[in-house]
């Protein structure tokens, strides 16, 4: 018991961290997951209609007359509360044209008490009602399906999205592809550099450290713009090549505003995240292992492959995981230098948050991205354990 009491102040010190984690980490992610399936807007706006439509069983015919009265009274109330526009916008997302249908019908019902059926012939079509019933469901797989280029029709059947609107799977694929390439390039460039950093001493080590840390002192925007200045068609690199007569004035390379530009700029920005954890691991490896292997007759390649590389794997995996996960969510750089072919899924998420206001879809895209991160990082965290010196 006494031991437990003495332990308590320690928990008190942890409290700020726990609160901080809950508020800035667990809660937003929870809200995002929740919003990707929870969509109460229509059922809140059309409470009576929702109840009436629940009794509608044969969806190939028109719903019972009570549904018409329920919808009329719901619409009338919405006009009185000036909330009809919310419903109109929301349903228009399900089917273009519904905004005008809802607003016109509602105003006619409210204005001169016209019967719903007479305001528009679409109300005599069961498919309009099926759409309403589907939209009034509080929990919906709609957004998650949209996020993988599927759609749910008014009759509840699930099919692939129209070919011309398919985009998200392709962008998820490209995002993972870019993240893999960036991680690979960071490994190829970062490994020797981390080795140099880990084995350097004195002034040289300070200089190398300075070089790695330098980018952190400048704004990301400025650094990305610098790449534009270097890589664009009229930029430094192309000018040099043209003035050296290596390429003609009309043969300038398109190095930016495309896939290539995104990869280059991202490797540059993320390289320190690979180097720093790796060099920390490398510094912890005692020199005698390598010397022992050499004294036993191993040639340099064999010593590196059998002894040194396995011991640095935890650093490679840690740096690689960090770079890979950061790349999956990268937003600013692809937006600025990605042009057409260098856009990633994060750019679409931003679009749905800021412009189209389709937060349900944005949440669903975020949820899937999170799932991808989890699935990929589990085997990677195993790799961190791999190669750890056996005790």
């Amino acid at each position: 018991m006494r031991g437990f009491v003495r332990f308590r102040p320690g928990w008190g010190l942890l409290l700020p961290l726990l609160v901080f984690t809950a508020v800035v980490f667990v809660m937003p992610i929870g809200v995002m997951l929740w919003k990707s399936v929870h969509d109460p807007e229509v059922s809140e706006l059309l409470p009576a209609t929702k109840i009436a439509l629940a009794r509608w069983t044969d969806e190939t015919t028109l719903p019972p007359p009570a549904s018409f009265d329920a919808l009329s009274s719901d619409l009338k109330k919405l006009v009185e509360n000036a909330r009809i526009g919310e419903l109109a916008l929301r349903l228009n997302r399900e089917q273009p044209g519904f905004r005008q249908l809802i607003e016109r019908s509602a105003n006619e019902i409210h204005g001169d008490g016209a019967p719903l059926m007479e305001t528009d012939r679409r109300w005599s079509d069961p498919s309009s009602w099926r759409l309403l019933k589907r939209a009034a469901e509080t929990y919906t797989p709609r957004y998650l399906l949209n996020a993988v280029d599927m759609q749910i029709a008014a009759d509840g059947s699930i099919s692939r999205q129209d070919e011309q609107r398919q985009i998200y799977l392709r962008l998820f694929g490209r995002t993972i592809f870019v993240a893999a390439i960036v991680t690979g390039l960071c490994a190829v460039i970062g490994y020797p550099f981390a080795y140099a950093l880990a084995s350097a001493k004195g002034a040289l080590r300070s200089v190398l450290f300075f070089v790695v840390m330098l980018p952190f002192w400048t704004s990301l925007l400025v650094r990305t713009t610098a790449w534009i200045v270097i890589l664009q068609r009229q930029g430094v690199l192309n000018e040099l090549l043209v003035s050296a007569n290596l390429i003609g004035d009309n043969e300038r390379f398109a190095l930016i505003y495309n896939f290539f530009g995104t990869v280059i700029a991202m490797v540059y920005v993320l390289l320190p995240f690979f180097i720093l954890p790796l060099q920390a691991v490398m510094r912890g490896i005692p020199g005698q292992y390598v010397r022992a292997a050499e004294s036993l007759g191993g040639n340099p390649m064999r010593v590196f492959g059998r002894i040194y590389l396995p011991m640095t794997m935890p650093g490679v995996a840690a740096g690689g995981t960090l770079v890979f996960i950061l790349s999956l969510g990268y937003y600013v750089t692809p937006a600025l230098v990605g042009g057409r072919t260098g856009q990633l899924i994060s750019n679409q998420i931003a679009f749905h948050i800021q412009s189209s206001l389709n937060w349900g879809l944005a949440s669903a895209l975020g949820t899937i991205l999170l799932a991808i991160v989890v699935v990929i990082s589990i085997p990677l965290s195993r790799a961190v354990a791999y190669g750890r010196p056996q005790r």
Partner: protein, 357 residues
């Protein structure tokens, strides 16, 4: 002891000022797009208004879009009062209940005595907002790319890669671009939106875009578009006239505005629903959309005033550079914000899909 008393006194003062600012509307927060545009508003609208009424104006920048507004209004903690929105956001936000209704009868008459209802351009008065400037989607041409020969003059030329070689700058959003694609394909301005509403019409617009896709560089922001043009990365680009005119007259860059079939749009001042300084905010909107304030703004940035009476107060040399000048306005198309509100979700997705392939 001294320190703590000083500290206590200061905190009481800060609290008092804070409470004062929150409840007495002697400060308004006006939100706009920043850069040269907000600078013109500050000089022509904010400062004269403060001088006249003693109400201070706090200027906040945003990137357009309604996300922040939705968050404020839905959560009930509204910290903005007046926002400068473009037509499409006004239309949408009005449906969504984000703005206070405007009492159009209270708007002052024009400086020539014309009642407000007749003085404003058609479409500039909206139940949720009052128009201030007309800005326009135009094509901007980098003259150095066509030195020694005649450059493009029409929308058809913009889509003609063979006759006018060179990279094209295109936006990452399809607004105005689809309209141009159809017009370049022979559709009359008057029937653009009817054609675009049909599946065949939409396909036709995308087929036209296909013809310049490989010759295009895509930009995200207006600043990026300017930079592409000025650096010579593109020979011509879709553009916003005010920014281009600024670069031409202030920096002397060799750009040219192509007014052929410009697609004009308007910006509006709207009062946010739940604004704590509603009365003062409404007074500001009336002040900033009066003839004199609009004419003053047109002298600073090349956007056209939405009041007809303001034209008489504008220097003729400046008036010629505005989208509303009659020589520029001949075959102009009015941007149809309602069409975009109805079809935006589907069309944006399709454009994004087209972009990514």
């Amino acid at each position: 002891m001294h320190v703590s008393r000083l500290f206590r006194a200061t905190s009481v003062c800060i609290l008092a000022v804070g409470v004062h600012a929150a409840f007495a509307a002697d400060a308004l927060t006006v939100v706009s797009y920043g850069g040269q545009y907000t600078a013109s508003q500050r000089e022509a609208h904010y400062e004269p208004f403060s001088k006249k009424t003693g109400i201070e104006i706090k200027s906040v920048d945003y990137n357009g879009g309604l996300a922040e507004l939705v968050a404020q209004v839905r959560s009930g903690s509204v910290s903005w009062d007046v926002v400068d929105v473009e037509m499409q956001d006004l239309e949408r936000g009005c449906s969504d209940g984000l703005f206070e209704r405007v009492d159009l009868d209270k708007l002052p008459a024009g400086s020539n005595g014309q009642p407000a209802k007749d003085d404003f351009l058609e479409g500039a008065l909206h139940p949720c907002g009052v128009g201030s400037v007309v800005w326009s989607n135009v094509i901007a041409v980098n003259e150095t790319a066509f030195s020694g020969r005649s450059g493009p003059r029409t929308i058809e030329d913009f889509f003609d890669v063979a006759a006018f070689p060179g990279k094209r700058g295109l936006p990452k959003r399809p607004n105005a671009l689809l309209e141009w694609a159809l017009m370049a394909d022979g559709v009359e301005p008057t029937s653009v939106y009817d054609v675009l509403s049909t599946p065949e019409g939409l396909n036709r617009a995308f087929r036209k875009l296909d013809t310049i896709k490989d010759e295009s560089v895509f930009w995200e922001t207006g600043a990026q578009m300017i930079q592409l043009l000025v650096d010579g990365e593109v020979a011509m680009s879709t553009a916003y006239n005010g920014r281009i005119q600024g670069v031409i007259s202030d920096d002397g860059k060799p750009l040219r505005i192509l007014w052929d079939r410009q697609i004009w749009n308007a910006d509006y001042y709207a009062v946010i629903r739940g604004s704590r300084g509603k009365a003062a905010a409404e007074e500001f909107v009336r002040f900033a959309t009066a003839t004199e304030a609009l004419a003053a703004q047109a002298h600073i940035i090349a956007y056209g005033p939405v009041r007809r009476s303001a034209e008489a107060l504008i220097d003729p040399e400046i008036a010629a550079t505005l989208p509303t000048a009659s020589a520029n306005f001949q075959n102009a198309l009015a941007f149809n914000a309602e069409w975009w509100t109805d079809h935006g979700d589907v069309v944006n997705e399709r454009y994004a899909s087209w972009l990514s392939q």
